[in-house]
Structure formats: C-alpha cells, structure tokens
Amino acid sequence: MKRTLSSIFSACFLLLTIGAGAQDKKKDSVKPLVVEVPAGLRIGTDLTRIAMHFFQPYRTDATITLDARYKDRIFFASDISWNRTSHSDTSYTYKGNGLAIALGVNYNLLKRQVPKENFMLFGGMKYGFALFNYELPAYQVPGSYWGDYHGAVPSSSKTAHWIELSVGVKVEVLKHFYLGWSLHDRLLLTRKLSKGDYPPMVIPGYGKGNKGNVFDMQYTVSYLIPMYKVKQKMNL
C-alpha cells in the first residue's frame, strides 16, 4: 500500500514537472492533468460538542462526522448527532433526547492542488433531519398577586427538518489524520416547532429549538480510511 502510494506520488510529481515544462513553452496548449489520488471514508468527531457540556451543563451532545470524496472536488458528507437535554430549577424542569442525521455535499474551493497536500477549503450544503422527544414534567408561572400557576407538558415525539450551509477547512496534520473547523448556518424548515407554545430547548443536531435560524461551529478531528482512488484534475 505504502509502495503504491509513494509510486503514485512520484508519478504525479513527474507529471507535474512535465506539465510545468509544457506551460513554460506554450501556455494555451496546456491541458489539465488528471491524476489518481487515494480517497476513502473520513470519520471524525466534533470536539465543540464535548466542550459545550462544560459551558451549558444541561446539554450533552455527541457528533460523528463522515465524508467521502466522490469526484475531483465533490465530497459526500454526513453528520450524525445525539443529544440529551436535562434541566431543573425553581421555575421548570425539562427533559429531552434524540438523534439527528444531516446529509449533503461539500465542494472543495481550493484551486491549485498538489496531490500530496490534502488541504481543503470547502463550502457545503446539507439536509438535516432529527427525531427526538421532550417533556416539561413540571413548570410554574410566577404570579405574585393571584398566586402561581402550575402545569406540565407530557412527553411527545417530534421531527424536525432543516437546511444547513457551511464553510470550513480541513488539513492533514499527520498521515491520514485531519484537523478541521467549519462554520454552519442552519435554517429550520419545521417552523411550527419553533413558533409553537412549547418550543423544544434543543433540537438534536440543530441547536436552540426556539430559533428559526441557528449559527454554529465545528472543530473536527478525523481519520481517513483509504478505500479507493479518485481522479483529480490539476491546473498547473
């Protein structure tokens, strides 16, 4: 495997030098080079979800990020998230948990690519879906004059849909080992959930349930499992 990889790389460099030489002679006649580079499934996790629990103790989140290179610049991407929310204070108690999956594509915006360097500056679009349930086992509305009002909302299952836009970077820091961060903007399609009388505190994979538009970030650590090869165009 290692031998084949290194031979690919040396072949690429050979092509690169040829290409560069050709460019010097006659610019117009240069055709983009197509080389085969190893690709596969990249599995990672979002570290901000772990950090979040320390700032917002009522939230416990986990996200697994997956992406796989499909073509030259196109990556299929997916986030699988889990959330548990539990909060209790004098005015209300809240319990919720659920799963979410987001599916979409990332497009690598970097123009010049050396096959050895696996940098990625990407823009992406995903469709997100969450299945979760939540309840307010007890709440009170304070009323200093007439007296407090006590109520409860029984547990119910809900689904949520959203569209997610993202930009970010991924860098290979060690062989097959990537670090990356990205910004995400999510637009809730299930608006009656956030506009209702009891909007959920947290929609798994989405964020605050009473907002129709959520801004978020990810910091991912991921590992690439090489599985196949992808043809990559090189503009020299």
């Binding site: 901000t48 979040m52 700032f55 917002q56 103790p57 009522y58 909060h87 204070d89 005015s91 209300y92 809240y94 307010l136 709440y139 009170q140 509305v141 009323g143 200093s144 004059y145 007439w146 007296g147 407090d148 009002y149 109520g151 909302v153 930009v167 961060w181 910004l183 009388d197 009891y198 909007p199 505190m201 964020g207 605050k208 009473n210 801004f215 978020d216 970030m217």
Partner: protein, 162 residues
C-alpha cells in the same frame, strides 16, 4: 495574496464570535420582561371639544381584586395601570375607585389562557387572549379593547374612557 490573508483573519474572528456566542449558559439569562399584565390607559374627553379625547391623570386610585389585598391604594395622579390577571381562572374582577370620595366601579375581564415556554432562561409565561372586558358605569363611561392578545407588558391593551 493579501486578500486571502485578510480573509483568513476575518474567518478566524467570525469563528471566535460564534464560539463565545454559543458558550453562555442560556438557563441563566432572561433578556426580556416576561410579565404579561393587562396594560390600561385612561382617556378623558377634552372639555373644550367633546370629540377629542386626551390622556387623563386620576386623583386617587384604589384597585384590588374582589376579596383580595389592594394592588394600588390611593395612588395620586396616574394615567394608566398594569393589572395582573388571574393565572388560574378565565375571569378576573377588580374593584376600581378613581377618588376616595367617589363611587367605585367593577372591572371584569374574560379571557383564554395559554402557557408559553419563552426560552431556557425565562421559563414559562402565561399568554392571555381577552374575549371581552366590561365594567359598571358609575364613573367609567366605556371599556375599549385595543389589543386582544396579551403577550407583553409593553402594549396598551385596554383603554378606559371617563
């Protein structure tokens, strides 16, 4: 490429802002006034021209819900009132006296209640949808309902005409 370099810092800055914005504990912050009291305003016909009404200050106002402690006792010179409605019943009745020497009126509100989970920090508040509001006509001439849905204290819901 200088633009790319600036872009890098811009993205980094955006990144930091989002990181801090998403870090605060939402259950500790309530950034709005969640009292949903009925907000009343007093109007009085202009003595020179009966077709025009103007705001009026009442001399000595006493208000309490029937069979309860007083909300306001002989308060001088107010032009409006904020009345808390009963969270446990669909009607609220108030004793309303404009001056200690004058006859009192009884104000009645009939409404529907809807609890509403505002946010993690503010918890649940009660929204009211007023069906009707009326009073006895000793001093108050009429009760006008200007905003039916009480979801905030910052609107004038009811106008009392004298």
């Amino acid at each position: 490429m200088p633009t790319a370099r600036y872009m890098k810092y811009l993205i980094l800055l955006l990144c930091c802002i989002t990181a801090f914005a998403s870090c605060d504990d939402d259950t500790k912050i309530c950034d709005q006034d969640t009292r949903t009291f009925a907000n009343l305003r007093f109007r009085y016909p202009n003595p020179n021209n009966n077709n025009i009404e103007k705001d009026t200050a009442l001399p000595k106002v006493t208000v309490f819900a029937l069979n309860k402690d007083s909300l306001i006792k002989k308060r001088v010179g107010i032009t409006g009132l904020q009345l808390p409605l009963d969270l446990g019943n669909d009607t609220s009745r108030f004793y309303f006296q404009t001056d200690s020497a004058r006859v009192a009126d009884t104000l009645t509100f009939a409404y529907k209640r809807q609890p509403h989970f505002v946010s993690a920090g503010c918890g649940v508040v009660m929204y009211f949808n007023i069906d009707s509001a009326w009073s006895t006509n000793h001093i108050i001439k009429s009760v006008q309902l200007s905003v039916k849905n009480i979801t905030t204290i910052n609107e004038t819901h009811i106008i009392l005409h004298f």
